[in-house]
């Protein structure tokens, strides 16, 4: 891929956190490997999504790219600037929405925005105008003079979004920005992001909402346990979802035996047990349900619950990570 101005690259990026409570004399617990050699390229102006279950390493990746986490080894750069050796140049270009709101609690809502802009050299009058517009857009235009402690969780999250955009960065990182937002605020954010994308800004977003990733992102990376599992457009990823519909059956006991039997049924492309849950991928989906219930019954299992999912990012995600997103 040719180097575009605001591109993001990582090469063999690795992050190891020291074991919690590591102390001499204490029992040695293993270090936590959060990233295992991540190779990622995001083009300038791209809208890129990062998906993965809890602990996959999404926040760590964003932390390194935003110069807030030190990589253990490997390299990463934003707009051609190395995140370790040229961190100031990286910070000049980025805006960040953190996973957990961290407003400056000594300042009110508007001051949070105007001062943050000032840290990027934006004049006060310009910042004040932008702050008013952003707060309006995010539906908290009337809360400018409020203390941040008086904001609800979702309102604080909106403030974080406004703060990330106030200095008009060219590369924008959003770590689960829509968590805690009501549907209206979520749609307002989507509109804002689409507009920023149309302006040619690079956007990297993590999310647990497949629908959101599907609608907004041009390309998606699915990661788990510090590794990249898949990377493609949402369209392409969906076609890679394994054979057909996912049928999940919750049994009243271990599903292993029922899974082996289910594999023999015609039209079943795979059947995997996970505890008492039996996951079956089948072309015909719903039609197979009576046969699956009978199969479980033959192994002495009752079916407690059944769930059908058509081929989607969700089914691909589950087949790749063995976990559901919510």
């Amino acid at each position: 891929m040719p180097d575009t101005p605001d591109a993001i690259r990582t090469a063999a990026l690795r992050k190891v956190y020291p074991a919690p409570g590591a102390r001499r004399g204490a029992e040695q617990r293993p270090d936590i490997v959060a990233l295992v050699g991540l190779d990622l390229t995001v083009g300038g102006g791209e809208f890129f999504g990062l998906l993965g279950p809890n602990g996959a390493g999404k926040t760590t990746t964003i932390g390194i790219l935003t110069t807030r986490v030190k990589p253990t080894s490997g390299a990463a750069s934003v707009a051609g600037a190395d995140v370790v050796t040229n961190e100031v140049a990286v910070r000049q270009r980025i805006g960040v929405v953190p996973q957990r709101p961290n407003p400056d609690r000594s300042l009110n809502v508007r001051e949070n925005l105007v001062f943050h802009a000032a840290y990027f050299g934006v004049a006060r009058s310009v910042a004040a105008r932008r702050a008013a517009a952003l707060l309006d857009q995010l539906g908290i235009g009337d809360r400018g003079d409020a203390k941040v402690d008086q904001l609800s969780g979702g309102q604080q999250q909106r403030l974080m979004i406004a703060r990330a955009l106030i200095h008009e960065p060219r590369v924008i990182f959003l770590d689960e920005p829509t968590v805690g937002l009501d549907p209206q605020a979520r749609h307002a954010l989507w509109d804002i992001l689409r507009e920023l994308h149309a302006q040619g800004r690079t956007i990297i977003m993590t999310t647990h909402y497949m629908e959101e990733a599907d609608r907004l992102c041009e390309r998606l990376a699915i990661m788990d346990q510090g590794r990249l599992l898949a990377l493609d457009t949402p369209q392409q990823l969906k076609t890679r979802a394994p054979g057909g519909t996912l049928v999940e059956l919750v049994l009243d006991g271990d599903a292993t035996a029922a899974a082996s039997r289910a594999r023999e049924l015609a039209g079943v492309s795979s059947a995997e047990p996970q505890g008492s849950v039996l996951r079956v991928y089948a072309d015909r989906g719903g039609e197979l349900i009576p046969a699956l219930i009978r199969t479980a019954g033959l192994e002495g299992r009752d079916v407690r619950d059944i769930h059908l999912s058509p081929p989607s990012l969700e089914t691909l995600f589950i087949s790749l990570t063995g976990r559901k997103l919510d």
Partner: protein, 265 residues
């Protein structure tokens, strides 16, 4: 749209913005700040510089030894607190400092700005306590205003040393123990800091005279004596300045290392 002609803002301008943020927050809290840092020294002045001399328990000359020490205590106390306490909040559960750590400047500039604020608040405390102490204690023979420059120099150096100590304490100590730290470290430092008696006087207990030399407050108090009451016994100003420069450097080195460890995971 991403413009190709991108001119990054100057480091100085961003430093100014960081400073403005702290001035904004500090101004709002100035009365509390002054009460917190000057009330205790002033009460001390009332008892030891006013009441006891009038009761005849201490000589009239004690005031001259006490005044520079009280200035030293106020300015060091305010410098150390005005850096350490915000650090505890900034690195607390929500890590409020993150929005400043994203500023496009080297990370140590964020810490350095806190030091500048600490020095400024030390200066303010000294400027408030000096006239009030003089007012309460009445005329002091040996006191002279002739050496304003040395007074300013000692104030700035002392405030710098203690601001850097505040940086170290605020970042290295876990927040639940910061209160304990003030009682265990700061309180003994004040009592064994030659603030309430001149260093010379420790001749009476020679072991003590050399043991207290590890205490940074000794140099600020003795420096103040040298600058405010030069006619009375005091440590050489050269030694004081040398010690304060070394201590400032030491605390900065340790403090910034601790700051960076907290700031970057």
């Amino acid at each position: 749209m991403p413009s190709t002609s991108f001119t990054p803002p100057s480091t100085l301008r961003i430093f100014g913005a960081l400073l403005r943020r702290d001035l904004h927050v500090t101004r709002r809290e100035l009365p509390y700040f002054l009460v917190r840092t000057t009330l205790q020294p002033l009460l001390f002045i009332v008892v030891f510089g006013y009441l006891l001399p009038r009761m005849g328990f201490v000589g009239r000359g004690y005031g001259a030894a006490l005044l520079p020490g009280i200035i030293a205590v106020s300015l060091t106390l305010s410098s150390v607190q005005s850096v350490a306490l915000p650090m505890v909040q900034d690195f607390g559960f929500t890590r409020e400092i993150e929005d400043r750590l994203l500023a496009p400047v080297p990370m140590r500039l964020i810490a350095f700005e806190k030091i500048v604020m600490g020095v400024l608040q030390g200066l303010i405390a000294a400027a408030v306590v000096l006239p009030m102490a003089r007012l309460i204690m009445g005329p002091i023979d040996a006191l002279t205003g002739a050496h304003a420059l040395p007074v300013l120099l000692i104030t700035i150096l002392g405030a710098a040393a203690f601001s850097n100590l505040g940086l170290l304490m605020g970042t290295a100590i876990n927040p639940q123990q910061i209160g304990l730290m003030f009682s265990v470290v700061v309180a003994p430092m004040i009592f064994f800091g030659c603030a309430y008696y001149p260093w010379q006087g420790l001749q009476a207990v020679p072991a003590m005279k050399y043991a207290v030399l590890v205490n940074p407050l000794v140099y600020v108090a003795e420096g103040m004596r040298g600058a405010l009451t030069p006619a009375l016994p005091h440590m050489s100003l050269l030694a004081v300045v040398g010690a304060l420069v070394v201590l400032t450097g030491l605390f900065w080195t340790l403090g910034i290392r601790s700051f960076e460890r907290r700031a970057l995971s």
